[in-house]
């Protein structure tokens, strides 16, 4: 049964309160458009977030939702999905929320492959607390808390997710609704946890962080689209990605020919190729891959959990409290 929804069905009555021009608006629209088509009964959808600008997201979705505490959304969502595997559970998180305070829950949710879809709105800054550097900010960034430049070497969220055994890892751009919806659809179809890094512009505290990927004059030479089963070519086919000694390189296709260019396959079990691709760019500077890096099958945690319950019930019969209370020896006093 498909359900006929429109975007409006997923708009809550709350006024949307991000700064005018914030990338979060576009992502919200993409998610609502995706939901309208995805055919998931609205009452079965749960959005969970931590704290941050991005984390206001659930308030704007006319679904069930929880705006929880900073960094803990992946854990709370895991509880939701593990308790009720039939629900469609989504986490919305910022780069501070997911990678700074919440890093541990994120990596554990990914390795467990619990059925939650994690959207990381990466604006490379702490928006809500007014502009401190985040774990994805470039080293040397000057902010209120780093007036002489940050000393932190940033994470590459895709590399980190792959290192944490994630089964589905993708990257997209706030402005590109079509691509975003494509990624959301694939994540939804994936069994288990899915991680999507969404480059999101914070026009107030970190404007133009992704300009190399979005500006008309540079985007072709900087957007590397990963497409399943296709050669990794970009810049109008002039450039391509090749792999050697376990590492990915950009090659001039005219010079080396298309044969050296890698054909993308996100479904290979070994994440090493995906990892190599993730190292092409550290942050959105220069040619940067977008698309699905990894998409492999592994049993979902919540399904396994249900199976153990079914197996136990089959083996022992449904639970009988009276007999549990008699686990230890009993005796009768008359």
């Amino acid at each position: 049964m498909t359900i006929a929804y429109t975007r409006q069905d997923f708009q809550s009555d709350q006024e949307v309160r991000w700064c005018p021009g914030c990338g979060d608006y576009t992502i919200l629209a993409s998610v609502q458009l995706f939901m309208a088509d995805a055919g998931i009964p609205k009452e079965n959808v749960v959005f969970v977030s931590g704290i941050g600008c991005a984390a206001r997201f659930p308030y704007y979705m006319e679904t069930f939702g929880m705006h929880s505490v900073h960094g803990r959304a992946p854990a709370i969502a895991t509880g939701i999905a593990a308790a009720r595997p039939e629900l469609s559970v989504w986490v919305v998180s910022g780069d501070g929320d997911a990678l700074s305070i919440g890093g541990n829950h994120l990596i554990h949710a990914l390795r467990r492959n619990v059925n939650i879809k994690i959207l990381l709105f990466n604006n490379q800054i702490y928006g809500l607390t007014k502009g401190q550097y985040s774990p994805t900010s470039e080293a040397g960034k000057r902010t209120k808390s780093s007036p002489m430049g940050s000393l932190d070497h940033p994470f590459n969220p895709v590399s980190l997710a792959l290192g944490a055994e994630a089964t589905f890892v993708a990257r997209t751009l706030d402005m590109d609704r079509t691509h975003t919806i494509e990624m959301l659809t694939a994540a939804h179809q994936h069994q288990g946890s899915a991680f999507i890094e969404i480059y999101q512009n914070c026009n107030v505290f970190n404007d133009k962080a992704f300009i190399e990927l979005t500006a008309k004059e540079s985007r072709d030479e900087n957007q590397i689209r990963l497409v399943q089963g296709e050669k990794v070519l970009f810049d109008g086919g002039k450039k391509g990605v090749a792999l050697e000694e376990g590492r990915a390189f950009i090659v001039d296709v005219e010079q080396y020919g298309e044969d050296v260019v890698h054909t993308h396959d996100a479904t290979v079990d070994d994440p090493a190729t995906a990892f190599a691709l993730s190292r092409l760019a550290h942050g959105p500077h220069g040619p940067t891959p977008l698309g699905i890096f990894r998409n492999v099958e592994r049993p979902a945690y919540d399904d396994d959990m249900e199976r153990q319950i079914a197996d136990a019930t089959e083996a022992k019969g449904p639970g009988d409290l009276a007999s549990v209370l008699r686990t230890n020896a009993t005796w009768t006093v008359d």
């Binding site: 009452e43 803990r72 854990a75 629900l87 541990n104 829950h105 639970g319 549990v324």
Partner: protein
């Protein structure tokens, strides 16, 4: 398997004792916990009333033979109604010199000491810190020493069983157990049946343990020494019914199962292992056929988050831990309180602060339970008072959490969690039932997730999967009706008061305090939690000496029962024994302005009944 009393052997010319305290002590590797547990089961089967106290060495396995490596298990058996595992053992089984050294001081003057002479060789004596052999230097003067070369006798007994090498001496504890079984006239079958079932898959071990046990029993029969130290502890006159022997970490798990059944919703238990709470996770993990989901999380913050997530979607979310873990959960408990979702936080308390004394008991997390959150953040706090009571306390926590849509802190401690007592099995038919009613449809125009039940002040529990009730909860202050985020000053005050009043309203839903009263008592003893047995015994013993003392024991620490203030006001003196630095006593002073006197003990050990008695008398005699 129910063992009825008729299987007990006939009574002979044994020394009749109303109560005996026995302590098994040996190296961690000597199987003393197992021996104690078997003796306990046999005593239960015999029909004694009993209470037990295991005492493990501190977390890290210490080198064999050292004082740090001594493991002990104490059991108090009696014909009458007893409450504590006993203050001082009448009988000490010491499997090696370290066990003797560490425990001898506690033994009653004139008590019986059973020792394994084979272990009293030089190296072991040195490890225990003995410079001379205590068997020979007068150390044991005044005790009744029963010595047996247990290593040798065990080796001899098991030689045909098929066990080899190191395995041989593993049966030594069964030899000791056999000897004690003879001394106290315990039914042999209870132990032998257990061995047969437990080691069914390892026939040599089964044979060895059986042989060692019988050898010990027969050694008792045939040996002079033992023959003159036999006791008869009569079966207790307990209320009729079916009994079993339980430790608190079991019963609290079972109580949670019963609570979920009473509520008609699935149990979701998320935890991160920590001493002494881990066994609750282990126990629940065994019962997946109840539809229970257990989840070993990456840390305590994740565990409470998981339980809260499960609660949001309609499960009975529970997270169990000990003090350091509760500290970590504080922020998320506060979220549960703001989101007004049911959640149970079990704290099996241990010695603090910081890592403290992880294997020891203490009641020092009471203040944190009540005040350990930022903001004005009240929630109900309930304490179990014994292994058996833990079952009921857990059910009560479930009831309140769901009815009032609130997180509840359920307090147990290391003593309750790991010690055992006989427990009259509840009649399944009479177990409480409080079916959950989820919100199913919109009342009025719009769904109002914070519209309250006028009596309980609880908001509706509307779970995903219910069409039309889509809504958002969160940690920001909420509008008192719509639940939307609200920064309105007055709304914040209203909501703060509503949260306070909702929790306060629980007081109308719990029984009044009943006083174990001596009509014109001068002194009221107020206890809570695991001190119940020692406090009750202490009070009883004081009364036996003619003093007038009243006693109450609190299950509800927040809110207090409605009549508590009035009860306290009745007595000139109020004494509050606690295994902390006076935390309940401070709460009573703040709430009722009574000059409660704190009796504090922070040694990682339970109170002894005698300590309570002495303190009561001292307090009574104070001007």
């Amino acid at each position: 398997m129910a063992i009825t009393q008729d299987s007990a052997p006939p009574i002979s010319d044994r020394e009749r004792r109303q109560r005996v305290v026995i302590r098994f002590a040996g190296d961690s590797g000597d199987g003393m916990q197992l021996a104690g547990a078997r003796f306990t089961d046999a005593s239960a089967a015999f029909g004694n009333d009993l209470a037990t106290l295991p005492n493990f060495p501190a977390e890290i396995r210490a080198p064999a033979g050292t004082l740090a490596g001594v493991s002990a298990f104490q059991i108090h058996i009696a014909g009458g109604d007893i409450l504590t595992p006993g203050d001082a053992p009448d009988v000490l089984v010491a499997m090696n010199p370290a066990a003797l050294k560490k425990n001898l001081d506690d033994v009653m003057p004139g008590g019986v000491i059973v020792i394994n002479t084979d272990s009293f060789e030089e190296r072991n004596l040195a490890k225990a810190g003995y410079e001379t052999d205590p068997r020979e230097d007068g150390t044991l003067d005044g005790y009744n020493v029963l010595a047996a070369p247990m290593d040798e006798l065990t080796k001899e007994a098991v030689k045909d069983s098929g066990v080899q090498g190191r395995e041989v001496l593993r049966s030594k504890n069964f030899f000791a157990l056999g000897a004690l079984a003879w001394m106290f006239d315990r039914p042999q079958e209870t132990t032998l049946d257990w061995v047969a079932e437990k080691f069914a898959a390892k026939p040599e071990v089964l044979a060895a343990n059986t042989a060692a046990f019988k050898a010990g029993y027969n050694y008792g029969i045939t040996t002079e020494a033992f023959a003159h130290s036999t006791f008869e502890v009569p079966a207790a006159d307990l209320p009729p019914g079916e009994y079993t022997n339980v430790v608190g970490n079991q019963t609290i798990a079972w109580g949670l199962i019963a609570g979920a059944q009473a509520a008609g919703i699935p149990l979701f238990y998320a935890s991160y292992p920590i001493t002494p709470a881990s066994d609750v996770l282990h126990e629940l993990a065994r019962h997946k056929n109840f539809g229970i989901k257990t989840f070993q999380a990456e840390d305590e913050i994740a565990a409470v988050g998981l339980a809260l997530g499960a609660a949001f979607v309609g499960h009975l979310g529970v997270t169990g831990t000990s003090g350091p873990g509760v500290a970590l959960k504080s922020e998320t408990i506060s979220l549960a309180l703001m989101a007004e979702l049911p959640l149970i936080i079990l704290n099996v308390q241990r010695g603090g602060p910081s890592t403290g004394l992880p294997t020891k008991t203490e009641q020092s997390d009471l203040m944190m339970s009540i005040h350990g959150r930022h903001g004005d953040a009240p929630l109900p706090v309930i304490a179990a008072s014994s292994p058996g009571d833990a079952f009921d306390a857990a059910i009560e926590a479930c009831r309140i959490a769901i009815k009032y849509m609130t997180p509840v802190i359920l307090l147990s401690d290391g003593y309750i969690g790991t010690s055992s007592e006989p427990w009259l099995l509840p009649d399944s038919a009479n177990l409480p039932s409080f079916p959950t009613s989820f919100a199913t449809h919109i009342e009025g125009k719009e769904f109002m997730p914070y519209l309250r039940d006028p009596e309980t002040l609880a908001r509706p529990w509307a779970v995903p999967g219910t069409p039309g009730l889509e809504h958002r909860v969160g940690g920001l202050e909420k509008d008192q009706l719509t639940g939307d985020v609200s920064y309105d000053p007055i709304n914040h005050e209203v909501m703060t008061l509503l949260r306070e009043q909702k929790v306060a309203a629980v007081a109308n839903d719990i029984p009044d305090i009943e006083v174990e009263d001596d009509a014109d008592a001068e002194l009221l003893v107020v206890g809570w939690g695991s001190t119940y047995s020692a406090t009750r015994a202490g009070v009883n013993n004081t009364r036996l000496e003619g003093y007038k003392v009243a006693h109450i024991h609190l299950r509800h620490l927040h809110p207090f029962a409605n009549n508590l203030g009035e009860v306290l006001a009745r007595y000139p003196k109020v004494l509050v024994p606690e295994l902390n630095r006076g935390q309940l006593s401070r709460l009573l002073r703040a709430e009722f302005l009574v000059p409660a006197i704190s009796f504090s003990k922070v040694q990682g050990l339970p109170f002894k009944a005698a300590e309570i008695k002495d303190k009561i008398i001292e307090t009574l005699e104070m001007p």
